[in-house]
Symmetry: C2
Subunit: 196 residues, 2 copies
């Protein structure tokens, strides 16, 4: 499992890769992770199974790369010059429909991740760890600008606060996560927890 995307390590075009991920996510919404098969992905995307396995290694990596392709918090390359600006930039990078769809998919994945060690490994290596590293760099810049202290204990829990809050939204408020929710949540909780 490498960090490079399949498009960058092979002849598949980025457009084709996007199309394929969209089909995987549509299937995931329809049948869930456990019932999703590589045969169904191959049929839906008119690919050969051999190609899918060669490019993605297996179902876990393919599904996680598809989720990553549409994930709402895209920390990479966020650098507005202030921590508040950076967090707000994160919130507005996806529209409400994309955020709602992603939240629905993640609810289904929460169970599957615990039942499938392969999926948990792909989830951590391809989604969680790269995001933690991007977040770490974003916070490091804020420390260097003097906005937050390097030993702020909230650093260790920002992933929990952000993803947990987005995930809890629909049950607690009976409303999907939206840009407005995320912006208010950042201002009311995330930045105060960091002392900003």
């Amino acid at each position: 499992m490498t960090e490079a995307s399949p498009a960058r390590r092979s002849r598949i075009t980025p457009e084709r890769e996007s199309e394929l991920y969209a089909a995987v996510l549509a299937l995931l919404r329809e049948v869930g992770y456990d019932a999703l098969t590589m045969d169904a992905v191959a049929a839906r995307t008119r690919s050969s199974k051999a190609t899918l396995y060669r490019q993605w290694g297996g179902k876990a990596e393919l599904v996680v790369r598809a989720l990553r392709h549409q994930k709402p918090l895209r920390f990479a390359d966020v650098d507005t010059g202030s921590l508040r600006g950076d967090f707000h930039e994160l919130a507005v990078r996806q529209d409400d429909r994309q955020m709602r769809q992603h939240a629905a998919l993640m609810r289904g994945m929460a169970m599957a991740v615990h039942d499938n060690p392969d999926l948990l490994r792909a989830f951590r290596e391809l989604l969680i760890e790269p995001e933690q590293e991007d977040l770490r760099l974003m916070l490091q810049r804020a420390v260097e600008r003097g906005e937050v202290r390097a030993d702020n204990p909230a650093f260790d829990y920002l992933m929990h606060v952000l993803h947990g809050g987005i995930g809890a939204r629909s049950v607690i408020d009976e409303l999907p996560p939206t840009q407005d929710f995320l912006l208010s949540y950042i201002d009311a909780v995330v930045l105060p927890a960091l002392g900003v």
Copy 2:
């Protein structure tokens, strides 16, 4: 659907009620919400289905009351004299095994709640809304003591921060939620977000 527990509104003893809830949660862990039937609950607990329906109205209410009986955050009657003391008291009211079991059950429920309107209603009326009210009273006392401002914007998001954080723990850290995690999380995030 009333707030009184079935034990308080009928001849069922609190011990029998606890025993029944434990059996419901065991079944829930084994088969999940969708496959759980009142027949199976009746057989496992040596009750008649008529009794179960009379006491609990139906599967959604029975399952949610069972979850409430073992839920980790028990705000009611927490009043230590300080907000930090109150939140810490919350964290230590259940042991790590109970917290881990509850987190596993809630992962399964997250999907079911979205697919079953009856369950969502019971979930909100019996779990979320009473807890929000208990939390509101706890914060109100802190406002009266001068510990926090009455217009603190984090008030609206404490349920998201607490439940989201507990729920996100196992995927983000590959560790179950524990008392130690919750105490650190409260000190690093919840209290600073409230300006305490």
